[in-house]
Symmetry: C5
């Protein structure tokens, strides 16, 4: 998991726990049947929604998305410009020897080296982008499903607790604690949804978006290399993937090259 997410997760749960501790005993916030109905029920419902293999793959993809650091667009642009220079000097076959870290760029370059025609390369790489996105969306959607189901299970738990409490009101003193226990499942559901599952789904969506942008950049770079464009033109073209204030690095290199 990347650091920001980890810090955020610990910080969020910390804020909630501190608020609980400041109000007194922690014990009153623990309730076995409540945990079972919210956590167990949510997992069971998610199992109904997604087959185990999909869930396992999605989890793996999510873990990878958190652990692997994706390259910055800047690094990718520099790599593309370097590749285009080589292709210009030695022809596309010269690209075969170049060491390329990024998997997707590597596959694109291999297609070019194999002499595939431009439409085929574009189609292959576009397909690849679309399918990657679909798999990423599966990962997000599982966490979104948890964020949807947990509060519903919490509400079901609270309703069960309220019905039990109100069916038997012989001891008025027991009402308060019984109501407290009934509310706990709603609290569990809200915490699971808002403090854990929903932020992870959003972080995965952001990662997916960054990777899609990176891959679009690479796709355009590969197309430009295959079209035999001038490295400087390619650089100008790809620079538009950067915020205006980060485009300068390119100009400096250009003036050095000049």
């Amino acid at each position: 998991m990347d650091l920001a997410t980890l810090i955020g997760l610990i910080g969020t749960l910390g804020a909630i726990l501190t608020a609980i501790m400041m109000g007194g005993s922690f014990g009153i916030f623990v309730n076995g049947p409540g945990v079972m109905i919210v956590v167990g029920g949510t997992l069971m419902v998610v199992l109904m929604k997604y087959p185990l293999t999909v869930a396992a793959h999605a989890m793996k993809a999510a873990a990878k998305a958190f652990l692997n650091k994706s390259q910055t667009p800047k690094e990718l642009i520099e790599k593309c410009v370097e590749l285009s220079s080589i292709a210009r000097k030695e022809g596309v076959l010269g690209l075969e020897q170049v060491e390329i870290e990024n998997e997707f760029l590597k596959r694109g370059v291999m297609l070019v080296v194999d002499g595939s025609d431009q439409d085929f390369v574009r189609k292959m790489l576009s397909n690849d982008i679309n399918l990657t996105i679909e798999r990423h969306e599966e990962g997000q959607s599982i966490f979104k499903a948890i964020a949807d189901v947990a509060p519903a299970m919490g509400m079901i738990g609270t309703l069960i607790g309220l019905v039990q409490m109100m069916s038997n009101m012989s001891d008025p003193k027991a009402l308060g604690p019984a109501m407290a226990v009934a509310l706990l499942t709603t609290l569990y559901g809200a915490v699971i949804a808002n403090a854990i599952a929903s932020p992870i789904a959003d972080k995965l969506a952001l990662r997916s978006k960054q990777e899609r942008m990176n891959k679009s950049l690479i796709l355009e770079g590969i197309a430009a290399i295959q079209a035999g464009l001038n490295p400087r033109v390619i650089e100008d073209l790809l620079k538009t993937y950067l915020p205006v204030n980060q485009r300068e690095f390119a100009k400096e290199e250009k003036s050095e090259a000049a």
Copy 2:
């Protein structure tokens, strides 16, 4: 129904029942008029929304989606590559003898064997995909309708119970149990929506998505076979429908073939 859905459904209802049992008697959670207004009312409203024939077809399609195991993309790719090899050696007429399990692939191959031109084949198969999806969506939408209507019916039942309770508050001791009964319909609605109807709708959506991807893969495969592409090129093309880590099988075969 597929195993994961069945386990999930039993698990969810089990978690809810266990929570009920731990709190005491099961009897207080059963209420005739409540069941009638939520279950009966929901079915009646769904009948208003969908004519019987649509509902029956949709149910059949849903049942089929649960029971039939769809082929994996990997199997389909292998089949397409095999077909393209045959078409290369014996011409497309040679495909007539090949045994094909998948209905949609079979229909596509028949169209090719009949000598239909490429645009016609693509149009026929695309139409087929779109209409299949529309029919699948009908099935999902019925379960989504149940998930929408049940909580509303639950709320209507609770409002009726509250009005009855508060119109006659002569016996304060009866208030609690009356309130408990009033809340039961909200509980029924929440359980039907969140633990049964909504997960089934989502599972159907997932199945529909998988089938659409399979059919897109087949459509592309058929087009490639008809265009007379090299089996290895077809394999590369269709491999993009697989996650990166599952693409290796192809390479191994390739090296064996080499």
Copy 3:
């Protein structure tokens, strides 16, 4: 109104009424000012949203959608195949004499008979489809507006009742009945929205979708006839509008014809 909708409507209201009756007197559920604020207020707000002429047209369209039974795709396909056979034998002018029940198909055939060119025919019919859909959507949107506004008016009524009740709490015994009355408007709003307006809007949407599919089928049929395609090819093309299990009728006819 079609039978399923009528049965559903009666069944839903019946379920609600039965639940009310089982709890005691029906009288406590009737409240004049409550009916006025929810029913009257909802109608007035809908009048603000839609001018009278639009509302009247939409109601007429809705009534027609309920009363007229649309033809099945199967019947339309058979008709298109029949027309294409005639057009093949006698030329498109031969179509002038054929009796055609379906208004839209008739208009399309007339355009073909008049010798309009293909793009013009397609444009005319496409425009027609889009505008029909727009008018249908108006009808749906009025019922959707009722389903949106009624619960809001119900909430406003309940808030008014609660404010009145709590401003004057001198007689504790009157609290219960006053609260019951306040809740009634919320109940009215929920019933109007969920048991009447929303299902009707959804049924209209379904009808509109069926009609759009029928018209798309006809549009494709007309285009195929005008292009002079073989009746058997047209049949194959249009059969994709049917579920797989309904396509057989065509094959039987084919074998008989052979």
Copy 4:
């Protein structure tokens, strides 16, 4: 403001006021700080969302949309047919003398008279349609913002009232009236949102849609005139913008002309 909207607005507020009056004194529904927080707070938040100039322009556009009666599609079709007859007889220059009420049609005709080429005319008019729609959407979005913000401000007011009430519960008799006052802001927010702002936003959306349809009709008419199409063909083409039952007028004229 058009009559239906005005009647609807008065009727809605009338229904609410009547319900208030039937329950007793009107005075208990007036609360200074409550009005301030809901009305003042809502206006301030809307000011944060939209700069003053945008708000002023939007209000002006909204007022104009209510006051100006837009022409019916029927009138526009008749005008386009008339213009095409003139253009046929006297050439497009003959259109310069024709008096045209509709601003947008006039601008289109002027472009044709100036001899602009077809693509340019279409681009100019399409741009115009898109920008008009964008400005209309601004007007709607301000009323939608009011409908979103007012209930939130009402809830904030109620929460403030509840906190104040519960912090000081020394006099149990004051609880009821204090609670009543706290609920008032929620009532204000609900009335502003559901009975005023939301219906006006919807009416503006409807107007905008009608104007867009009118302008699309004109755009198609201008293109047809410029292409030198036969007036009868143009009539047939534009008639598709009318509901089927309103198309007859054209046929009558045709038979008279014949």
Copy 5:
């Protein structure tokens, strides 16, 4: 921050504070653990959703959007017309000397001066527009995330408070104040979401929309200049980006020029 937003923010918070003050002591609305769980928890969850660098960039972009006054479309049209006159007289190379305030227009002109072909210029500038919008959307989405998370954190805080209160109801007199404290976090969440974060997100969206419209205008202007269109034609073309009543300025200039 622009003046309207600042006034709106102060006004909104002022209305809320006044309502609090009129009801008595301000002190009862301050609660340390409540602030911690809502403000702290919200920031932590947002940190989970967005990495720090994204958040920092987005904040900077937001600040810039508030501080920089974007040029009016009118000014941009005048500039484009001026540039096209120069390009007509001195050729596109003459544009190199012209001083251009707007960054995006400047970049476009530089591309034209460099002799890039039309498709390349359009692609570069379109890319630029899309990426600017994406970065703006990141800024909005952070404020939208705050508006989503704060009420959820408020609800979690209230649930914690209620559970603590009801677990220990030995002193009935403490119930009111404890309930008041529990409600405070809901109030904090509502104020942060509705009075601060949500309006800022909407204002940023409006700014982004204005900038996109400006950039579209410039893109069209650049394309027209490169195509060598007549300055008057360019003016007519770009005028469609203005509301009808603002288009007159151009005509006056035209008649002066005549």
